[in-house]
Amino acid sequence: MNVPGDLKYGRTHEWAREEGDLVVVGITHYAQDQLGEVVYVELPEVGNGAAAGDELGTLESVKAVSEFNSPVGGEVVEVNERLEEEPNLVNEDPYGDGWLVKISGTVEGEDLLDAAEYTAMIEAEGA
């Protein structure tokens, strides 16, 4: 499983990457693999506030629905509108074009895992 070393991770399988004063959020390679081919992404409305751990939206495969949560507190400033037409990006490029939302905030002070901790967590889950 691909777990980039420069990202922070939530326990519900989201990743977070700081870009200026924004935090880009997506789901991990492991999470998309567990879910299977994503057919629909329900994204939050821009302007919604979220505390860390709040549900932001849902991802659907053919046979499952999975919620994703905000790894950080802040306000939703942008959502990945390409996913409306191309939900497959979540599978094909989960850390790149398959990002989900951008949130005004910071990973500082949030209860997040680093790559090694997250890798240990998913290895324990798979066992």
Binding site: S61, V62, K63, V65
Partner: protein, 453 residues
């Protein structure tokens, strides 16, 4: 040993031996003694001839619609029945199959449902239709709950014209309380039609999730759909059309054409037996933008691994087996075989045929109105100016129930008492005509009213 159980005593003994058991009772050891029973207190089974005769005698204790002039309607109508419909329904490949979870071996059912969805879209003027619901009454319920979801659960008011089938409204009341919906009923004007401004006033601003009318309505009158859709839009609500006589859609344009967001109702008229009220066929159509809030099953087109066209169930993530407590409906088994019947019926009748059939209903109803306008005894048309499709309200000096009873004694099923479920309209009879109504039937009705009053 019964012929409908596949194993005989010898077979069961052999299998027990293979399992290393001596008695079938051993397999049931996990059931506590306190709940067990040795023998059910019901009769012994009977042979085919005996059971057939028993059921036949129950049937003979009823007056079949085939044996008397009937003007009964109110959501259950008697239309032509091409023999191909029952022939297709009797094919074991259809009726002994189940929900097409395995698309590779159920393309027959899937394609038929895809055709059904398409036909419902064409008739209602909307973009997407589901694979069926239980009946017209529960279709109304699902429409209200759908609108509530589309409005994100924030608008709890449902404005319903009183001229929506009162039985359907009663069913809505059953579901509304636990769903925290407030149902506001808007009575018709004296002309029997619902006034859009009354609906608009009842809906308020930003309070109502949907405005519901039935057209043709319970009293037989066609509602002013463009005005209703406009009123709903102004109030920030969805516009919902209920249809209780689906054949009307052969002549009248569906609500989708007039800006309605949902058209739903009862499609028993498309080839289903009256059957003492069921099984019938609920249908539901809406706009594609709201498809993810739609209740019930849905078939989509796709391809197989060889690139050939194929069909499968789709958007199942809306449904209870995946989304559980957050599903758009708890419906699982729907009315699949009835949707197949409607599909066969519509395809046998054809588009041109449906239009002719609906026009014949209208012509027979106009003839009926002409005859009843002069029937005497104080009985008259409540709304002589119409506009009606194939039902009308007959009013007079007595109650509808009393008139129906007196005419039934004379062998005529004259109609449904208009206040069966209450109502603000004058008491009387809802009288229906279809393409199967004959001049002789109408003669019998007119004669019987003359004798009875």
């Amino acid at each position: 040993m019964h012929p409908w159980v596949g194993a005989g005593d010898d077979d069961r003994r052999r299998i027990l031996a293979e399992l290393g058991l001596t008695s079938i009772d051993q397999l049931f050891a996990s059931i506590p003694d306190g709940v067990c029973v040795d023998r059910l207190p019901i009769a012994d089974g009977a042979d085919e001839g005996t059971v057939r005769a028993e059921l036949a005698s129950l049937g003979l204790a009823n007056l079949s619609l085939d044996c008397a002039p009937s003007f009964l309607g109110a959501g259950v109508h008697r239309h032509v029945q091409p023999s191909v419909v029952d022939a297709v329904l009797s094919r074991a490949e259809f009726f002994t199959s189940y929900t097409p979870y395995q698309p590779e071996i159920t393309q027959g059912t899937l394609q038929a449902i895809f055709e059904f969805q398409t036909l419902i879209c064409q008739l209602t003027g909307l973009e997407v239709a589901n694979a069926s619901l239980y009946d017209g009454a529960t279709a109304l319920v699902e429409a209200a709950l759908f609108a509530h979801r589309v409005k994100r659960g924030k608008l709890d008011r449902v404005v319903v014209a009183e001229t929506v089938h009162p039985m359907y409204r009663r069913v809505l009341d059953t579901y509304a309380a636990p769903a925290s919906l407030e149902v506001v009923v808007v009575p018709p004007r004296e002309n029997g039609r619902t006034d859009a401004s009354d609906l608009r006033a009842a809906a308020g601003d930003g309070l109502t999730c949907c405005v519901v009318v039935q057209s043709p309505n319970f009293l037989g009158l066609v509602e002013d759909l463009p005005a209703v859709a406009g009123a709903a839009r102004e109030a920030g609500a969805l516009a919902v059309q209920v249809v209780a006589e689906a054949v009307s859609l052969g002549l009248l344009s569906g609500g989708g054409t007039h800006g309605f967001d949902v058209v739903c109702g009862e499609a028993q008229s498309f080839g289903l037996a009256p059957g003492f009220g069921g099984p019938h066929l609920g249908f539901f159509a809406c706009r594609e933008a709201q498809i993810r809030q739609m209740p019930g099953r849905l078939v989509g087109e796709t391809v197989d691994s060889g690139g050939r066209r194929a069909f499968c169930l789709t958007l199942s993530t809306r449904e209870q087996h995946i989304r559980r407590a957050k599903a758009t409906s708890n419906i699982c088994t729907n009315q699949g075989l009835m949707a197949l019947a409607a599909t066969v019926w519509l395809e046998a009748i054809g588009g041109r045929g449906l239009r002719q059939l609906a026009a014949a209903c209208l012509a027979r109803c106009e003839d009926l109105k002409r005859r009843l306008a002069a029937v005497g005894g104080g009985w008259r048309l409540a709304h002589p100016a119409g506009p009606t499709f194939n039902e009308l309200l007959l009013i007079g000096p007595g109650t509808g129930a009393e008139l129906a009873r007196r005419l039934a004694e004379r062998g005529v099923l004259a109609g449904v008492p208009a206040r069966t479920w209450g109502g603000s309209w004058p008491d009387g009879l809802i009288v229906a005509a279809t393409e199967r109504t004959t001049v002789a039937d109408v003669d019998a009705l007119v004669r019987a009213i003359g004798e009875a009053t």
